[in-house]
C-alpha cells in the first residue's frame, strides 16, 4: 500500500490573508496582566490578613500560608512589571493582529453565547445551536450538513451521558416538555 503520493490537503476556507495590522503589542499585554495579577495579590493578601495570617496556640492560622503566597505572587508580578517596562525588544512584538483577533472572536463569542444558552435552554439544545450555527456561519458548510452533524453529535452525547453513563447535564424547557 504505497499510495503516499496521494496528498490530503486540508484548508480552512475562511482563512484570510496575512499582514494584517497589530491590535496590541506583547509588551502592553504583559504590563496589563502584571497589573491585574498585582491587584489580585493585594486583594487576596488583604483577605487572608483579615482571616488571620499569624500564629496562634495551634500553629499557623488559616490565612498564613495563602497570605505569604500572595506576597510571593505580588513580588513576582512587580518584577514582571519592571521587566516588561525595561525590555524594549519584547514590547514591540505583536500580541495579536486584527485578522487573528477576528478569528479568535469567531470562536470566543459563540462559546460565550453557548454558555449563556446552556444556563437557560439546557446543554443539549445549546450544543445543537452552537454546532449547527458555527458550521453554517463560520465554516460556510451546507445547511443540511450542519444541521445533521449537530443533531447526530448532540444525540450521541445525550445517549452517552444521560442514558448510558447516567451523568446528568443541565436541562431546559425542551427536555422538560419531552418529559426527561
Amino acid at each position: 500500500m504505497s499510495n503516499t503520493e496521494l496528498e490530503i490537503v486540508v484548508d480552512d476556507p475562511t482563512a484570510p490573508e496575512d499582514n494584517s495590522p497589530a491590535v496590541v503589542s506583547t509588551g502592553v499585554v504583559d504590563v496589563v496582566v502584571s497589573l491585574l495579577l498585582l491587584a489580585l495579590a493585594v486583594v487576596l493578601g488583604w483577605d487572608n490578613w483579615r482571616t488571620g495570617a499569624s500564629w496562634d496556640s495551634t500553629g499557623p492560622q488559616p490565612g498564613y500560608f495563602p497570605f505569604y503566597l500572595s506576597v510571593i505572587l505580588g513580588g513576582a508580578s512587580l518584577y514582571g512589571l519592571g521587566a516588561a517596562f525595561l525590555s524594549r525588544r519584547e514590547a514591540a512584538e505583536t500580541f495579536v493582529t486584527r485578522a487573528q483577533l477576528r478569528r479568535v472572536m469567531a470562536v470566543f463569542v459563540p462559546t460565550l453565547l453557548f454558555c449563556l444558552a446552556t444556563q437557560y435552554l439546557g446543554l443539549y439544545v445549546a450544543s445543537f445551536f452552537l454546532i449547527a450555527g458555527f458550521m453554517r456561519l463560520v465554516g460556510k458548510i451546507a445547511l443540511w450538513k450542519s444541521l445533521l452533524t449537530a443533531f447526530v453529535f448532540t444525540a450521541v452525547m445525550f445517549v452517552t451521558f444521560d442514558i448510558v453513563f447516567d451523568v446528568i447535564m443541565p436541562k431546559g424547557p425542551l427536555e422538560a416538555a419531552l418529559g426527561r
Binding site: 503516499t4 482563512a15 495563602p66 500572595s70 453557548f114 446552556t118 450544543s127 454546532i131 463560520v138
Partner: protein, 503 residues
Amino acid sequence: MEAFGLLLHGFAVLLTWKTLLLMMVGLVLGIFVGVLPGLGGPNGVAILLPLTFTMDPTSAIVMLSCIYWGALFGGAITSILFNIPGEAWSVATTFDGYPMAQQGRAAEALTAAFTSSFVGSLVAVLLITFLAPMISSFALRFGPPEFFAVYLLTFCSFVGLGREAKHKTVISMSLGLLLAGVGMDTVSGQLRMTFGSAELLRGINFLVAVIGLFGISEILLTMEERLALRGHAAGISLRVVLSVWKDLPKYWVTLLRSSVIGCWLGITPGGAIAASFMGYNLAKRFAKDQESFGKGRIEGVFAPETAAHASGTSALLPMLALGIPGSGTAAILLGGLMVWGLNPGPLLFVEHKDFVWGLIASMYLGNVVGLVLVLTTVPIFASILRVPFAAVAPMIVVSCAIGAYAIQNAMFDIWLMLGFGVVGYVFKKIGIPLAPFTLALVLGNRAEDAFRLSMIGSGGDMKVFWSNGLVGTITTLAIVLLFWPVIDKAFVGLGRMLRPARA
C-alpha cells in the same frame, strides 16, 4: 520477586472482556484526541474523566491511562504526515519524520515512531514495576515535614529547571497554590478568599481549571493560527513493519539512551517535551554524519519518540509512589484518583494492591494493544484531519462544557471554565507556563496541610525541615534547584546541549 507475583495477579484482574474492551475504547479515544491539534493528552483525559465517574476505580483508571497512551501514540501521526505536532512533545519528531514522509517513506517513519514509543514506554513501565514499590515502602516512613520537603522540591525544580522566565514560573505557581486555597480551609473549617460568594465555597476545582486552560484556550489558539494542513496519506503494510523491526537492533544505543533520558526527565518534572528534544539532540551529537539529520533519517524519529514516551510513562512513577505527578496528565489522573476516593501516595501500594497492580499491568497490555491498534488504523485516523475544523471546534467546546459541568454538577463551573480558557490563552501568548499552575493547583492543599502539620508538630520551628538527614537533604536539594540557574553558569557548555536544536 514479590513484585512479579503481584504483577501476574494484576494481569489476572485485567484479562476480562470488559476491561479489554474499555482498553480499546480508551486507546481509540486517546489516539483521536492526540491527532486533533486542538486537543491533547491533558484535556483529553480531563474531558473524558466524567465518563468514568460511574465505573469502578480499576476499570476507570485502565480506560483513562489508555486514553493517555493513545494520545502519546496519536501525536506522532500528525507530526509525520502533516508536519503538525499534535502535541508539544512531538515537535522533535517532525524534524526527521516529515522529510521521510515527503520522500515517500511515511510508512517507515510511522512504524519507527510507534515502535520506539512502545520501546520507550516499556522501559519506563519496567522501571515503575520494580522501583515504585521500593520508593513507596521507603516513603511510608515519611512524616509531614518530609512530604512538604518533597513538594517543595517539586515546585523549586520547576522554577529552577524550567526554560521560561523565572518570575513567570513563580507567578504561575503561586497563583495555582492560592487558587487551591479558595473555599473551606480543611484544617480549621474557616472560609478563605470566598468574598461571601456561595459558588466559591466549593473551591476552584482542579479539573474545571484544566479543561478551560488546555481545552478552551487551545481552541482559541488553533483558530488564531489558522489551520492549513498539507500532508501525506499513508498505509502501513506488514512488509514495511517487518523491515523496520529487522533494523531495530542496529539502533539499540539510540533507543537505550533516549529511554534513560526520558525516564529521568519524566520522574523529575522536566517533562516529555524536554525529553524529546534532548533525545533528538543527543542522537544527533553522537551520530557520525550529523548533516543527514533533519533530512529524513530514521534515527531522528527513533530518538525523540522513545524519549517522549519513556518520560510520559515514567511521570506516573512519582504519582503512584509519592502522590506527586511528574506531568500535567499525571496530575489529572491524580485528580481522578481523588474523585474515586483513593489517596495517592505510598499507602496506595499497601491499601489498594489490586488497583495499583491492575494499573501497572494495564500499562503493559495497553502498550501492546496500542501498538497493534495504531499500526492497523493509521489511514483512518489520518483522514480525521479532513473533517473541517469548523465542525470539530464546536464539538470540542461542547465536550469541554460537559466535562466541566459533570464534575460537580454546577453551572458556575462552566463559566469558570470559560474564564480559565481566556486566562490560558493570554498566559500562553505572553509565555507564562501553565504546567506549574496545574501542578500547584492539584498539590496546593496537600502541600499546605503537610506544612501546617509539620509546623504544629514542631511548635512553629522552621528547623523541622532540617531535623534529620533525610528531610534535610531534600530541603537543601530543593533550595539548590531553586537557585540552579545561578549554579548552572558553571555548566554553560552542558546547557547548550540541552537547548532545542534548530530544525
